[in-house]
C-alpha cells in the first residue's frame, strides 16, 4: 500500500524522493548524524553556513533554552571554504541525497567567492543563500530586510551559481515578508526557504545581563511554529503560488503533524531544525509519518496536499 503513495517532490525541477530536509546548522557539514540516521533517506540535506574564510564564531554562552524553544548565537562558526572543499566535500560526494550548501558572508563578494568555487561541483544540488542570520554584525540579516539589497545579492549570486538551484532563506521579522520574497524571486531565486530564527533575548535576573555573550540570539523551536506556518502561507498565497516557486518550510517542526501543517500552508518541502538536537532521527520518522497521513487521508500524490488550506 505504501508503495502506491507518491511522496516524491518536484522542487524547482529537482526530483526529491520525499519532502523532508534537515535545516542548516542542525546537522553539520555532511554525515555527522551517521550514528543515528541514514542521511540518504532524506529528501534533501543543507550544510551549516559556509563562509569564504574560516570563522571562530561567537564567545560563549552561545545558547539558552526558553519555553518551547531555544536561542542560539553561534556566529557562523565554520571551517571556511578551503577546508570545506578539502575535508567535507569528499564526504558529501559519497552521499546520494541532494545536498545544498548554505552560503553566508559579510559582503556580497564573500557570498560570491563561496558560490563561484562550488558552482562547478557536480555533487552539489544547489545553494541556500543565508541573508537572514540575526547573529552577526555584518552580512546575514542585514542583506535580508531591504528588498533592494535582496535583489542585488540574489541576482549577483544567481549569475555565478552555474545554473545550480538557488534557494533564498528569508528572515521572519520584516514589515512584509512577501515584499522580500518577491524581490528574491524577481532577482532569480528558484526556491524560497522560510523561516530563519527571530532575534530574541533572555536576561539573567541575578546578574541583570543577557544570558548570551552575543546579548541576542535567534529563537527557534516549537515556540515559533505557528508564526512560521502563517508566514509560509502568506508567501505561498502572495508570491510563490502564481510564480510556481517552491517553498521549503521550517520553524519548530518536530514531527509529521507539524510538517503536514506546513505542507497544507503551501510548503512543497519541509525541514526539521532544532528537533535534530533532541531526536537526531526525527527527520526519518517525519517521512514515515507523512506517508501514513497520506494513506489514511487517501492522498496518492503529496502534491495534492501542498497549499491545500481550506479558507471557506
Amino acid at each position: 500500500m505504501t508503495e502506491a503513495i507518491d511522496i516524491s517532490v518536484d522542487f524547482a525541477g529537482l526530483r526529491l524522493a520525499n519532502p523532508v530536509f534537515t535545516a542548516s546548522g542542525t546537522c553539520g557539514y555532511a554525515d555527522e548524524l551517521a550514528d543515528f540516521i541514514d542521511i540518504n533517506q532524506l529528501g534533501g540535506f543543507i550544510t551549516k553556513s559556509i563562509t569564504a574564510k574560516p570563522r571562530k564564531g561567537n564567545p560563549t554562552p552561545r545558547i539558552v533554552e526558553t519555553d518551547a524553544g531555544m536561542l542560539n548565537a553561534i556566529g557562523w562558526a565554520n571551517v571556511g571554504l578551503d577546508k570545506f572543499i578539502e575535508e567535507k566535500l569528499p564526504v558529501i560526494e559519497k552521499l546520494s541525497v541532494p545536498v545544498f550548501i548554505n552560503v553566508a558572508g559579510e559582503t556580497i563578494s564573500e557570498y560570491i567567492a563561496v558560490v563561484e568555487r562550488l558552482a562547478a561541483e557536480q555533487t552539489i544540488a544547489g545553494f541556500e543563500l543565508n541573508i537572514s542570520c540575526p547573529n552577526v554584525e555584518k552580512g546575514g540579516i542585514n542583506f535580508g530586510t531591504d528588498p533592494e539589497q535582496v535583489k542585488e545579492i540574489t541576482s549577483a549570486v544567481k549569475k555565478t551559481c552555474g545554473g545550480k538551484m538557488l534557494m533564498v532563506k528569508l528572515a521572519p521579522a520584516v514589515t512584509d515578508i512577501s515584499v522580500i520574497a518577491r524581490a528574491a524571486v524577481e532577482a532569480g531565486a528558484d526556491a524560497l526557504s522560510l523561516i530563519n530564527t527571530f532575534t530574541a533575548m533572555v536576561i539573567d535576573i541575578e546578574t541583570r545581563r543577557p544570558v548570551l555573550a552575543n546579548k541576542t540570539g535567534g529563537l527557534s523551536g516549537p515556540a515559533i511554529k505557528p508564526i512560521a506556518v502563517y508566514l509560509v502561507n502568506k508567501v505561498y498565497n502572495e508570491v510563490a503560488k502564481q510564480r510556481r516557486i517552491p517553498i521549503l518550510g521550517m520553524g519548530g517542526i518536530r514531527n509529521a503533524s507539524d510538517a503536514i501543517e506546513f505542507i497544507i500552508a503551501g510548503a512543497s518541502a519541509v525541514a526539521a531544525g532544532t528537533a535534530n538536537f533532541i531526536e537526531p532521527g526525527c527527520a526519518v520518522k517525519i517521512i514515515e509519518g507523512i506517508k501514513k497521513y497520506c494513506i489514511s487521508h487517501n492522498i496518492t500524490n503529496i502534491k495534492d496536499l501542498v497549499g491545500s488550506l481550506g479558507t471557506g
Binding site: 546548522g25 542542525t26 546537522c27 553539520g28 555527522e32 548524524l33 550514528d35 543515528f36 551549516k48 571562530k56 564564531g57 564567545p59 560563549t60 554562552p61 552561545r62 545558547i63 539558552v64 533554552e65 519555553d67 518551547a68 524553544g69 531555544m70 542560539n72 553561534i74 562558526a77 523551536g221 516549537p222 532544532t274 535534530n276 538536537f277 533532541i278 531526536e279 537526531p280 532521527g281
Partner: protein
Amino acid sequence: MPEKNSSSDKGQFCATVRANKQIGGRFYRLDLEFQAAAAKTFAKFRPGQFAEFDLSNTALPPAEKIPEDLTDAAGRNVLLRRPFSFVDVNAKKDKTLAEVLYCVVGPASLRMTTLAAGDSVSVIGPLGNGFWVPEGKKRALLVSGGMGAPPLLHLAKVLTGDYPDIEVIAFAGAKTAKDLPFEKQLDGISQQLGFTLPEFAKYGINSQVATEDSSAGFAGMVTDCFKQWLENSNLARDSAIIYACGPEPMLAQVAEIAKEKQIDCQISMERRMACGIGICQSCAVLCRVDGSQETVYKLCCEDGPVFDSKEIVFSG
C-alpha cells in the same frame, strides 16, 4: 582505559530506571539499566564521558516537593536534552548498568527526581572524551569542586581497579558541607588526610574535604587545600597527574597550580550545550593552538569535556 580519543561510538538508547534515591539535600543517585544493544558501545565507556538525557516528558514532582527557589523555573518547559556524567558504569556482556549522581538545580533535574523504578528514559551516549592515563604515572591527584565529584568518583574506581601501580589521592571541596554530593554525614570529618570520605575510602583512596565556610574539613577553597598538600609533599612531578572537575574559576586555579608545579593536568569542562554530538556548535571552549598565541574554539561535547589544562584559555 585506552589512550585519548577512541573513535566516536555512540547511539540513542533506552534505559530503565532501577532506583532513584535521594542521598541527602538536593542530591540523588539514579540507577539505570540500559537496553542490551547499548552494551557494545558502553563497554568502552571511560570516566569523564557523558550522555544526553531526554527529560522533556518526565513529570514534575508535586508542588509541595518543589524547592521554593525553583517554583518559577519548575513551570518552564524542558525542550533540550541535558548532559550528565556518570558516577559508575558497569558493562558486562549484554548488561549495562550505570549510575548518575545529580543535583536538583533547574526544571530538568527537578523532573528527574520523579523517575521511578521501571520508568524508561531516552539517553544518547557515550559522548565526548573521558580522562586518559599517560604512560609512567604513579600518582593521581583528584580535585573536585561541588558537583564535579561524580566523574572523579568513577575515575577513582577505574584507576584503583585497572592501574594498581597508581596511588590515588582525592580532594573534594564545596561551599559548605551540605553542598558536597556525598551520601554519608560529614560531621566530624577531620582536617587530616585520611580515610575520610567513604565514597573514596571504599576504593582504598585517601581523601580530604575542604569547605569554604569551614563546616567540614579544611577551612577554605579546595584549591588552597590541594596547594598546601602539594607544598608539604615530596611529589615526583613527572610521575604525577592531576584530574579536576568543578566550577570554572576553581578549574582555572587548578590549571595555574599545575602550570606552576609542572604537573600534567586534565580538566573536565562544562558548557551549555544543545545536541552533545558536535552539531549545534554551542559548547565552545577557547583553546590555545600548540605553541602559539593563536586561539581556537573547540567543542566541549566532542573535543572534551576532558582537556589537557595547558590547552584551555580561562576567561577572567
